[in-house]
């Protein structure tokens, strides 16, 4: 749809604020633990694209999701991953980029059998 603007050339002059170049070598990655909505939304992190995918479960997830009572029971072998809505079997030793995680990608993980406090999805 054509832009409706008073000033000619408005569309060409637009500054897109969240381009990857603005994040000092990082890219924004969103993380979401399905059926655990006590974490109110997905979380956002500025991460280097070359960071190994495995660092998510070794560092990020324990730090930011470890306080949930379900966390200690997670069997990481069984976790189901989705990257930008597509089911995925990430290679933990490879980088985020090599696993198809781009700027503003959403990584969801589901923990079968664990669905929140007293099964409430909280």
């Amino acid at each position: 749809m054509a832009v409706i603007a008073l000033k000619p050339g408005y569309a060409e002059a637009v500054e897109f604020r969240d381009r990857k170049e603005n994040f000092h070598g990082n890219q924004v990655v969103y993380l979401h633990w399905e059926e655990h909505l006590s974490f109110c939304s997905a979380t956002a992190f500025p991460l280097p694209p070359e960071m190994p995918f495995g660092a998510l479960i070794e560092e990020l997830i324990p730090t930011y999701y470890g306080m949930h009572p379900d966390y200690q029971s997670v069997n990481w072998e069984q976790v189901e991953w989705k990257i930008d809505g597509q089911s995925s079997t990430p290679d933990m030793s490879k980088s985020l980029a090599d696993n198809g995680v781009g700027h503003k990608s959403l990584i969801c993980f589901r923990t079968p059998g664990l669905n929140g406090y007293r099964g409430s999805c909280s």
Binding site: V3, L6, V14, R17, D18, F23, A44, M67, P69, N115
Partner: protein
């Protein structure tokens, strides 16, 4: 010999002289050059003189009437201050609702003042131009009276001191700020549709009526006073809103699809922003009046339903996704309070968990959703608090590109799943909390791709630093006083000390 007394003009003649009579067709300059803003949106106006102003208020009458009203209003505010009115509120916890309201809304009143002044210069038709001038003054008065209220509460409670500074920086205040920036950067007809119609006509009762009753019920006379003083102005604003819509639809059939698109957009944006009011009503008032869901049923489902039935003769239909918004009325207050509870470290007001009694009230008001989805969440957090492990979300939230609220809303029909929506524009991904917000982006991607999303701005290094402490400093938030739980806050300690002192005097 004395000249014969001139016959006094009646109201209609005065109005004709003092508004329509002040207008003229320019001849040295082209009208399009004098009024450059009112055609580019594609709204076709064939005859501006068809504008009806049911109030027929002239500027001289406006000054006289408002001057009297202001004198009464400030007398009440003064007496509230002199009599230590802050001691008469139901509980100091209540003040947090006012903190959110005044820090979120007062700067918008000022923005409205500025933009109506712009319209009061730039609308070609003299009828709406004069109406916009008066509304501009109304909005300035509302901003002033609210700032007087802030000034009083600021002497006794935290969270108010930096309100204009915070409005431009704090993550959740970007929600009302970006809402209004969106309206002010639109053309004049979209602004009228957004603010005068969608907000002040369709949704205003949800903001003012329940909230002002809440203030009255909780002993907050300062807020009640500005609320009721504003009410008589609001009646005029609402009339302007409905008149603009009818005028556009009557002027040309080509206007209908444009107006419908704006109505859809601004209904949805208003619904999301009012989620903050929902949370105040259901969680923040120590004495509650009605639930958000009940308010939604009365003021949107019933009153809005009748309005859109009336407007259907112009071909205008109920806003898109009104059914989804109605479904969300069962969830939005709980989801929003959960957001603020877990990000209390970065909020300029205090949070708490609902008590047993409050949870019983919520169960009763929300029989379909509270016990099943939200009670367990609060009970889990209560257990964690009891163990000394109060739940904080230490990561930053994913925000919706359009409404800028953390993406915490669930799928229509499935409250156990977050609703994720995304789209690509010029090779870049954008994320949304809902179909409504996604549609708004896709209609104007150039505009919303520029959104100043607080979380991304922190990552880009534009908000004082990477640590919470740095960002709070940049927000001008007093860490340990303005933020965190009500329990143990300086506000609470002071309130308890006052109550103890009063008891001593009473004994």
């Amino acid at each position: 010999m004395t000249p014969p007394r001139k016959k006094k003009m009646n109201l209609k003649q005065r109005y004709a002289l003092m508004t329509r009579g002040l207008d003229w067709e320019t001849s040295y300059q082209k009208m399009d050059d004098v009024f450059p803003y009112d055609t580019f949106e594609g709204i076709k106006i064939t005859d501006w003189s068809k504008w009806e102003d049911p109030f027929r208020l002239t500027m001289d009458a406006y000054w006289k009437y408002q001057g009297e009203k202001e004198r009464k209003l400030y007398a009440v505010l003064d007496s509230f201050a002199q009599n230590n009115g802050q001691l008469g509120i139901s509980d100091a916890r209540y003040v947090n609702a006012i903190k959110l309201f005044l820090t979120g809304v007062t700067p918008l009143e000022y923005q409205a003042h500025r933009h109506f002044a712009h319209l009061g210069r730039h609308i070609r038709g003299v009828g709406p131009r004069v109406a916009a001038q008066m509304q501009s003054l109304d909005e300035l008065r509302h901003a002033q009276t609210q700032i007087h209220t802030i000034s009083h509460y600021n002497k006794y409670f935290d969270g108010f001191a930096e309100f204009p500074h915070m409005h431009d920086r704090v993550w959740y205040l970007s929600v009302p700020k970006s809402f209004f920036d969106d309206a002010c950067t639109a053309g004049p007809f979209e602004f009228f549709t957004a603010i005068s119609f969608a907000f002040e006509y369709v949704l205003t009762n949800l903001l003012f009526v329940p909230f002002m009753s809440g203030a009255a019920y909780n002993g907050d006379l300062a807020t009640v006073t500005f609320g009721f003083s504003a009410q008589s102005d609001e009646a005029r604003h609402m009339t302007l809103g409905i008149e603009v819509i009818k005028f556009m639809l009557e002027q040309h059939p080509d206007n209908l699809p444009i107006v419908q698109k704006w109505v859809d957009k601004w209904f949805w944006r208003g619904h999301k922003m009012l989620g903050l009011v929902a949370m105040m009503m259901d969680y923040m008032l120590p004495k509650r009046i009605m639930s958000w869901k009940e308010a939604w049923e009365i003021y949107f489902t019933e009153a809005g339903g009748a309005l859109f039935e009336d407007l259907s003769r112009y071909g205008l239909r109920v806003p898109k996704y009104a059914d989804i918004a109605t479904e969300e009325a069962e969830h939005i207050s709980h989801q929003n309070w959960a957001i603020f509870y877990q990000y209390t470290q970065a909020a300029g007001f205090h949070t708490w968990l609902p008590t047993d009694e409050e949870m019983a009230w919520l169960s009763e008001k929300y029989p379909n959703t509270f016990d099943k989805y939200y009670r367990p969440r609060f009970e889990m957090w209560r257990e964690m608090e009891a163990k000394g492990e109060r739940f904080y979300n230490n990561a930053l939230p994913q925000l919706c590109q359009t409404c800028q609220i953390p993406m915490g809303y669930t799928e229509p029909g499935d409250p156990t799943k977050i609703g994720f929506r995304s789209t690509e524009y010029k090779g870049e991904r954008y994320h949304f909390c809902s179909d409504g917000c996604k549609d708004i982006f896709e209609n104007e991607p150039e505009k919303f791709a520029q959104a100043w999303l607080p979380v991304h701005q922190i990552f880009q290094g534009n908000c004082g630093g990477a640590d919470l402490g740095d960002v709070l400093k940049w927000y001008h938030m007093d860490n340990g006083a303005d933020n965190l739980d009500y329990s143990g806050s300086p506000d609470q300690q002071q309130w308890d000390a006052w109550q103890a002192a009063r008891k001593k005097v009473a004994n």
